[in-house]
Each structure stands twice: as structure tokens, then as C-alpha cells.
Symmetry: C2
Subunit: 335 residues, 2 copies
């Protein structure tokens, strides 16, 4: 077969073509300092001519490492995860590591998929609502470095998160400051650790006001819209604090359908500061998404390369309330 020539060349062929041993080829292509300039040149020429690239599995097997790490997230829908993953990928690439991704959403064998992934990497980042702590603990117990992202800590495992509770409290207080007294939190605390934290904060900040919890099903726009209709006509809240921006935008749509004016009749807030929030004039909370991803990647890299294991770290990155028009009248608000 003529095509055969195009197939992957091995180190043996390069060695033969260059007239040296495979050990020398291996060195010439990486070690630098252990090989004559002349030899290296000859080897490199041969490698180029054969279009040689070392087999990754073979290297990994010999070296005992993958030069890759993985990140597990529920979904990539909405800018949140995408930004996090991007920050992660960039940081991982900077430390010479490829990244494998795994979306668990809509997968019944998530645990198995994560375990499989664990076998392909030198370290793993696991986000929020993806797999049980048990699975995480099992993998971490293997000795595989793991960092948790936007998720409640597991014993002995690093955790990076964005602040939820404190900022949520500030947000609720802001609403109460506006005179709102019938608050509704729309979102299911059982949905994710993030939502739970936000709800906890809102409770703390809603002193002196009525606070109703409405466990909306999903975290997308349509879920928010659907949940809003009955909620707005029944509870008659004067402020709806949503688990995230998409839900909030859905509420905005539903309110418009019902002829409710925002913020006069109803205040609405979200979380994430999507681009759409800006154009919808939605008061929300901004999170350092890329930084979350980058931090996770950095920590993982540290773990992978560290000599002797240090204690588990935890970090909560700062978030901030972004005031726009939807939470009540302000003198002036920039889009």
C-alpha cells in the first residue's frame, strides 16, 4: 500500500534513517544537552522527513504521566461554564497540559465517565452538580490530584469557589432598602451548591421582609418564564430574586406578558451578569469566571508537580453586585 508511507512513523524508523539508536533519537528530540549538534541535526532531519511525532500513549506509559488534565462540568450552556472552562484551558495550556472535558448533564453513567476520565489525566477538576462526593472521594483516594470548583468542599480536597452568601445577602438588603417587603427567591437550593449559598444569603439579608422560596425546576430562561407566571399572580411579590440571570430574564418576559412594570410593580434580580443582563437592565451579580477556571488549573498543576503533599486549600473569590434598573429606581444607571 502506497498510503502506508503516510502512516505514523516510529522512533525505530527515524533511528534507522539517521543511522543511530532509538535512545539517541529520543534524546536528540528532547534532551538537547546530551547529544552532538551534528547528530541532533541529522536526527531532526530524519524525523522531519518521516513526519515523525512520538506516540503519546507510548510516552505516557514510559513516563508514567499523561501531560493532560480534565475538567468535569454539568453543562456548557450559558456563558458561565464556557468562561470557566476557557480560563481553565488557558492556564492548563500555559503549564503544558492538554485538557479533556466531560459534560455530565443528560448522562446517566456520569460516575463511570468521570472515573474513566480520571484514568486519562494527571489531575482532575470537578465542578458543581456533576457527581457525588463519594465519587470524588474515591478518585482523590487514588492519589490523583483533584480540585473542586464551585462546589462544597470534600475532606482533603482543594476547593475554589465564588462568593455566594455574602453577596446574596447584600443584594437582599439592597432590595429591602428599596422598600421591597414581599420577596421571592426563585430557584432550587438543592439544584447546586451555588444556588444553596445564594438562598442562604438572601435569607440572612431579608430580615424584616417576607421571603418565599419557589423551587423553580431548571436554570434556563424558559424555566424562569414558566415558573414566573403562576408565581406573579399568586404570591404577588414585589421583588423576585432569581437563582441566575437566565431565570431572571424569563421572569422579565413573563412580567411583560402580565403587564407588570419593572421595577415599579416588580423588582427582579439575577446572578452571573450575562451580556443579556446588561441589555435587559437587569440587576445582577458578577463573578470572576475565568479566574475561577484559571485558579483551579493552577492549583491542579501545583498538586501534580509538588514534591510532598501539602494541606488542602480553599479559596472563595470575590463577587460583586451590579446595580441596574430592574431592582428599583436609582438616580442614574449606566447600561
Amino acid at each position: 500500500m502506497a498510503m502506508k508511507a503516510l502512516s505514523k512513523a516510529t522512533i525505530y524508523q527515524v533511528a534507522q534513517l539517521a543511522g543511530v539508536s532509538i535512545a539517541t533519537v529520543s534524546r536528540a528530540l528532547r534532551d538537547s544537552e546530551l547529544v552532538t549538534a551534528e547528530t541532533r541535526e541529522r536526527v531532526q532531519a530524519a524525523a522531519r522527513q518521516l513526519n515523525f511525532t512520538p506516540s503519546r500513549p507510548a510516552r505516557s506509559l514510559a513516563e508514567g504521566r499523561h501531560a493532560a488534565n480534565g475538567i468535569v462540568f454539568p453543562d456548557l450552556v450559558g456563558p458561565y461554564y464556557a468562561e470557566v472552562v476557557l480560563g481553565y484551558e488557558a492556564a492548563a495550556a500555559a503549564s503544558g497540559s492538554s485538557v479533556l472535558i466531560l459534560a455530565t448533564n443528560g448522562r446517566r453513567d456520569a460516575a463511570a465517565a468521570v472515573r474513566d476520565l480520571a484514568g486519562r489525566v494527571d489531575g482532575l477538576t470537578v465542578m458543581g452538580r456533576t457527581v457525588d462526593d463519594e465519587v470524588v472521594a474515591g478518585i482523590a483516594g487514588t492519589g490523583l490530584p483533584v480540585v473542586l470548583l464551585a462546589r462544597d468542599p470534600v475532606d482533603g480536597v482543594d476547593t475554589v469557589r465564588a462568593g455566594n452568601t455574602g453577596t446574596a445577602r447584600a443584594l437582599a438588603e439592597h432590595l429591602v432598602g428599596h422598600g421591597h417587603r414581599r420577596l421571592t427567591f426563585l430557584g432550587d437550593p438543592d439544584d447546586s451548591p451555588d444556588v444553596a449559598g445564594r438562598y442562604a444569603g438572601v435569607r440572612a439579608g431579608a430580615k424584616g421582609a417576607r421571603l418565599t422560596l419557589v423551587r423553580g425546576k431548571g436554570l434556563d430562561l424558559e424555566s424562569g418564564r414558566r415558573a414566573a407566571a403562576p408565581l406573579l399572580t399568586a404570591d404577588k411579590p414585589d421583588a423576585v430574586i432569581c437563582a441566575n440571570d437566565e431565570v431572571a430574564l424569563g421572569v422579565l418576559l413573563a412580567a411583560a406578558d402580565l403587564g407588570l412594570r419593572v421595577p415599579e410593580d416588580l423588582a427582579v434580580t439575577g446572578w452571573d451578569d450575562l451580556l443579556a443582563a446588561r441589555f435587559a437592565g437587569l440587576t445582577t451579580v458578577r463573578q470572576p469566571m475565568r479566574e475561577l477556571g484559571a485558579t483551579a488549573a493552577h492549583w491542579l498543576h501545583k498538586r501534580i508537580t509538588e514534591e510532598n503533599r501539602t494541606a488542602a486549600r480553599r479559596r472563595v473569590l470575590a463577587t460583586e453586585v451590579v446595580i441596574r434598573g430592574s431592582c428599583g429606581a436609582h438616580e442614574e444607571v449606566h447600561p
Copy 2:
């Protein structure tokens, strides 16, 4: 070391514990039919006890395949790529393949990174403006299955794209139909094949109107905003057709700053149908993003598993204009 017990166990240890050969372990853990039920049980018990997972590199080396494929994209910013990648991941997972991602943006060694990636996968999907055709051809020449996504075809390589030209033409004609006569296209056709296609379509649809090309630098909101200011005061166009939604949203912001009313004084259109476009009332074009990703993954899987190589395929997925308020007055427009 006590911890040692937690470290990865090998097939040899399982074999010893179960009192069988490694060959039997290998079979028991996969083949099913070649092993006594009793033996299998014993092996599985041993494997479980040792928390054994076969080494991926070792398997890959022995089997000659990675059970993984990769996708290369410029960036993950904005929902577009994220959605595509998500569709890709889901489809790849369905065919039992892990996915490696690589963002080339802001990386000077993109070509090298892509070549490295090529050595880690059974197939590769390469998106738009990431690496030169030369690199793609080189990799495809290796025999590695490759599919191009949102990118001009390369000889002998599969290509999946979303329609640009036809829909762009329809969009331009729609604007002309509204009475607009001084059109400006904001975006750099050299930026990506997609933008080039859109511009070509706009030119075809702008018959009878003046069309100016303004090569805006980036494809993000700030780029659009910055480019818009001088453009709007100098050219005085009555319609700006933007390369994508983010740029268009930037133009909207700039127009507001200048006191221009949309659409009365100025029509603006985007591309992508971001969530924000809906709330900004932006006329735009919707693309089947997930389907793009899923199609690429499917094709790649076919290529990887096919017996004898078939001819290169090409497909252009349909896109559609989404009319909102920003392109001119209509009777009624839903958000």
C-alpha cells in the same frame, strides 16, 4: 508507605490476588464470553478490592487507538463556540469517545499545539480561524481523520458549515427593502471564513444601495463600540450590518451615546442570535450551533470506524434571519 496501597493497581496485582494469569484478568474484565462465571466473579472482586482501573496509555498503546478525539477552536468566548463544543461533546460521548479541547486564541504555537493534539486522538475537528490549511493538510496526510468546522474546505477533508452567504444576502435585501440606501458592513472578511461569507452575501444583496466596508478589528462588544463611534459620525450610514451580535450590540451602545435612535435614524443587524440580541431587539441570524458540533462529531466517528475510506463530504447547515426591531419598523415584533 501506607498510602502506597491507594496508588494505582496493575493488572498483575489483580491477577495475583485472584490467582489467575493477567490474560484472564484482561478477559474477565471485558471479553465476557471467554471466561467462567466463577472466575470472572473472582477477578472482578479482586479488581474492586484493589480499586483497579486499567491504565489508559497502556491500553491505547496495545490497542493502537486512543478512544478520544479532539476539537480545535479559536476561543470559547460568546455562546457560539461553547454551544458547538457542547453539541460535539455530547455526540462524541454517545459514541464512546472522550474529547480533548484546544483553544488556539492568544497562542503563538498554535500549529505545534494542534500537532501535539493530533497525537492524542483518533480524529480531529478543526474550526474556523485556528491554524493554516497547511497544518490541516499535514495532519490529514498522516491518515488521521479530520473534519473541518465553519471553515473553507481543504482538499479531501470533510467540511461542515452553517450557511452564510445566502442568508446574508437575504438580510441585506431586507434592509434595502426597508428603504435603507447607505449600508455599512462592520467586520473584517479576513478575520474568518464565516465573516468573509457574510460579507460576500451582503454585497450580493445590497444592489441599488451604497455599501461601505469597515474592517473592525475584533468580534467582541468593545470592538464594535469603538469602531462605531467614528463610523457613525463620518460615513453617516443608515444601516450597519455587523459581523456578529457582539459587535452589533457595541454599535447599539455607541449609537445611544451619540443620540441616534434605532431603527429610525439607524438600522443595526448582527449574527448569531445571542440571548442578548433578544433583549436588545436586535435583528440577527440564527445558526444551528449544536447541530454543527454534533455533525462534526458524527462524521469523525464514521471516518474513524469506516472500513475503506470514502470520498470527502461537505454539508452546509441552514441558517435563518430573525427579524426584530433594530432593522426598521414592523407591525409587531415579539421579543
